[in-house]
Assembly symmetry: C2
Homo-oligomer: 337 residues x 2
């Protein structure tokens, strides 16, 4: 908290396709609208120049200098180790030093994850953070994880995803007692590959609100609030859905040609893309499993998406998301032995 | 072949939601339009009654009595063993006895597979048949397999799927040198779970036109003619796509309400469902890996779908699909050692 008791968010001003201008603009808007303290991290001269252009009067933010930037082209782990004064690491370190309560970056996910693990560590029993969230605009009340961070899982990892997804659904979707489904090839117990069979048994013992196996169509039908799967399946699904969004919106544009107004056509095709694109549905959010609030915004975020991610960071801090998660993980680990 | 040199297809008249009427009707249409000999298998009195209702003059078909029927509610392996005189087994036996060159059934997939394996066996190196075909109406030139028959695969099984997919694309899609992609979480070699890594190396050695890893969106973009994956992932994708088709066509109906004519709206929404529904794209087709032409039509097939599946069976026989497949399997097995 700052002197006035506000939550402080450290924002990596240098990460993302539209850094620093759009990041700074989104951060300034958040400082004004969300009543949060903002610390912008990056090259001071560039940040000050962007603030000048942003033209939002009367908003004060702090700046912390970081001389280096990590790009998408670098190996995340190596880049974080070599460029010690990079903006996303410096922002994360502010959380470790309790000078900020959360960090937000639109930089490369891998690097944010490495920095998060380096400075804040992972929650008990979590080896590696998971990526997930509301999967589809069509099915906003269903969180799917893992979406690609963990490929080739052990059964207990799927239980971790379930615990994390439940905390996520409670905090961000305001679901009271989130139901959990295991993505599988059939609803009957005993279905699936060895991973699914073992994970099914563990989930039964977990004490979570486990409703059993669910199938591919159940994601779209919101059959459970939290659906867990290996990151291999999750990643294929995310990309399949993204690809469908692109091709289908083009397909629909052809079908609607000369049938409705150009404006209506564009609106509906854009909406179709939006409801199918997992990245649009998720917008951005916390890296799940890190022992601190570390939020990733999309690389192509504009000011509005940055402000949205800062709002998620604020919600996570206010709701005590990390403590809830830590306690749930400990409880479930006791249940499954 | 029958006396006049026609290919004979044994059709299980009793399998499917609309048996025997729609099955018989589709078979009679095929006898007329495709110049194939048809042997209807099932309860003679019911078949004769259905023929009477079909009102197609001048078409002669044979009937072979089978007193029992296998339903979706039964355990396939047990049902096939217990009900020895069931219609789909009797139809398959006609192929074994060379009284027919192919069999077609809209009965339960599991039971057709068991009967196929029992009477005809599997092709060399294939433990269990695979299910696959053109995955999406949006991407008709891309065959995906396995779609759920084989869950928890060994790497060599993915190579088998590739060989089978290539023969399928040659025969049914008329692609000359089908390209093969391995569904994975990234295009770089070395990506993925242990199965993907090992399968990637085998596919490199296979002598097939292997283009490397492909990702979820590449299915929609037809990046390869054949895309192989474990049946777990394939099954989740199929069902996800089916679910999307249902929910999205409803969503689109709402969006288009009062914007275009009712007829146009219904047409576009139905088309949208159609291009997303793998079962509609595939229609029906051979169980891949059985040592004989055994074709499955969808359970909810009407006469038109039955006729379509009979046409596929005819193409498979005429093109020497099974021999091509056997030779390709042997060649690739030699390549991968």
């Amino acid at each position: 908290m700052d002197n006035s008791g506000k939550i402080v968010i450290a924002v990596d001003a240098m990460g993302g396709d539209f850094a620093p201008d759009q990041i700074v603009l989104g951060a300034l808007q958040s400082a004004r609208d969300l009543k949060v303290g903002i610390t912008l991290v990056g090259k001071k001269s560039e940040i000050e120049y962007a603030i000048g252009k942003a033209n939002i009067a009367g908003i004060t933010v702090s700046i912390v200098e970081a001389s280096e930037v990590i790009t998408d082209q670098e190996q995340p782990a190596i880049a974080v180790m070599k460029k010690r004064d990079n903006s996303l690491s410096v922002a994360t370190r502010l959380v470790k030093e309790q000078k900020a309560q959360a960090m937000v970056s639109a930089g490369p996910t891998g690097a944010i994850m490495v920095a998060g693990l380096q400075f804040l560590g992972s929650l008990p029993g979590v080896e590696r953070p998971t990526v997930g969230g509301s999967f589809l605009g069509l099915a906003p009340r269903t969180v799917v994880l893992d979406l690609g961070a963990n490929v080739g899982c052990q059964p207990y990892q799927l239980v971790n995803f379930a615990v994390i997804g439940v905390a996520y659904a409670k905090t961000f979707l305001k679901v009271e007692n989130p139901s959990v489904g295991l993505l599988n090839v059939g609803v009957e117990e005993g279905k699936g590959d060895p991973l699914s069979k073992e994970a099914h048994m563990l989930l039964r013992k977990s004490g979570l609100n486990f409703i059993g196996n669910v199938e591919g169509h159940d994601i779209v039908r919101e059959k459970a609030n939290v659906i867990v799967c290996d990151g291999f399946t999750g990643n294929v699904l995310v990309k399949f859905s993204e690809g469908l969004g692109q091709i289908l919106s083009h397909w629909l544009g052809q079908k609607l040609k000369d049938k409705i107004s150009q404006a209506d056509k564009e609106k509906i095709c854009n909406d179709l893309y939006g409801v199918l694109s997992p990245s649009q549905a998720m917008g951005g959010g916390p890296l799940l499993g890190i022992n601190g609030v570390v939020c990733k915004a999309h690389g192509n975020s504009q000011a509005q998406q940055i402000a949205g991610t800062i709002q998620q960071a604020k919600m996570a801090v206010e709701s005590g998301f990390i403590n809830i998660l830590r306690e749930s993980l400990e409880k479930v680990h006791t249940n499954i032995g």
